[in-house]
Amino acid sequence: MTTTHVAPEEVMAWVDGELAESEARTVEAHVEECAECAGVAAGFRRMSEDLAEWMVPEIPARVEAAVMKAAAGAKEHAHGRFRRTWGTRRRWIVGLAGAMALVLALVAIPFPAHKSRGMYMVAPMQRQPSMAPLDQRSPASGVAGLMDRQIAPSATVERKRSDSAAMVASLVAPSPAIGAASAVAAPMIARTVSLAVRVKEVGAARTTLEAMLARHHGYTAQMTASAAEGAPHELQASLRIPAGDLEAALKDLRTLGRVENETQSGEEVTQQHQDLAARLKNSRETEARMQAILEQRTGRLSDVLEVEQEIARVRGEIESMEAEQAGLEHRVDFATVDVSVMEEAKFDGVADSAAARMRDGLVTGFTNARETVVGMVVFGEEYGPAILVWAVVLGLPGIWLWRRYRRGLRAG
């Protein structure tokens, strides 16, 4: 007689009492008839009996005492639950805070470099706007005066920020024409600020702007106001503000309305200024020498005319350079502030339709998505290789430790 055996796993489930009633009856009937399956069932039962021999000692009484004490304590603490919940969550909160601090620290690390550069840009040597023009009759003293003015503040700067002074020293290589006096000079920085402000009323903003200019001794270099019908009113102005007053003026400007955009930049013109001064000095010396030749020596008329022509040429150069120098100094003394004041858009009952707004939203959404993707790709390109290097540097020991840890866990 051929018997279809019940699967051993099925027999095991039957022995464990885990089969549904109908299945259990079928298996039971089969096991009663089939010696082989009965043997399997007996094997499982014996295994359970063997395992049952693995006894553990009585639990020590001290555990009961400790638990009962805890039970009594738990009842007494009316606010226990809150404290316990806080206790269990505290670790998570502390961990999360730590992780956030780490992320912040990582994000902030690149900033000090930018910051110091920013300080360098934002707080340049504040030249006095009342700087006197160079004495044209005594060029040497003029140049020396210029040098004095450059060196005097540099001493303070050097004391305050030796790193900055060192940087300046490296930037401003001493020119043989100027000599040792200019070995170290404070940077001359022409600052430019661009500010876009959204205001409620352009007219009022203009009045405030003019009052602010008067207060800070600045002036308007150029101004355009537009008040086209149906379009929001606008005011574009290019202001010149004494470098020393710039920060205060900017603070005032920001109060005009909602600042939508602000950019600040600074152009280092120290080298340019010093080159100009050196060239100016040389030209003046040339002029002085030729004047001396003209006064002391006599010669043919054509020679005299030639020298005079030469003097006129050099004079022209000197004047042009002086103008350039004055312009440069003016750019340093007076920061340029380009202000764009726009009135908030008014919807005179002609609000966009819902469809138009949704379409605009969709366009903005797609633009944002594209920008996000581009940003991610750029990030990947910029930092991907470095991340890869770090992944290798940290990953390999990490994998090793992780495997070790998993092995420990498996070993239980």
Binding site: P8, E9, M12, G43, R46, A70, L409, A411
Partner: protein
Amino acid sequence: MADDGRDGDERAADGRGDEELMLAFCRGSQQAFAELFKRYRQPLFGFFRRRLADAARAEELTQDTFVAVLRGAARWEPTALFRTYLYAIGLKILNAERRKAAFRATFLGPSEREPAARSSLDAEVVMRDAVGRLEPMDREVLLLREFEQLSYAEIAELLRLPVNTVRSRLFRARTALHAVLTAPAPKTTAAGMTESEGRV
């Protein structure tokens, strides 16, 4: 040695089910908790003792589990059996202990294992060794079934596995354990248990 199965006499003495006792404890009855502790102190100690080589740690973790029950009492809802709830806490605490031990072993080097097994009885040494060779999840299913006497459904709930997986893992664990216990005999299959008179 103690019988770590649930004590029928003690249960009869109170007459109430575990869940009723837990509800009574939630309402403030210390006596109900004392009764629950009496019922489960030994099974829970056995649960830890069989899974850890360190007897002192097993004691501490038993205590920790009951303390966790005490602390969680306010949040307890009778949606599951009390014993499933208790062993779920026990398993969490056990896993945390294992993680800590693995972490210590990874970063601080392996700790000295106490020679408790050697001084224990032969059956314990043999069983601990044999069970220790099983795959961790199979081992857990087997222990929960054989010693904690949990049903397949309860084990499935505790280990977050499908019931059928519990059944197949249990079968695999028992087959493997049989093979280990009958070693150095040739590899034995479940069907082979009949041939070898099913001696495990």
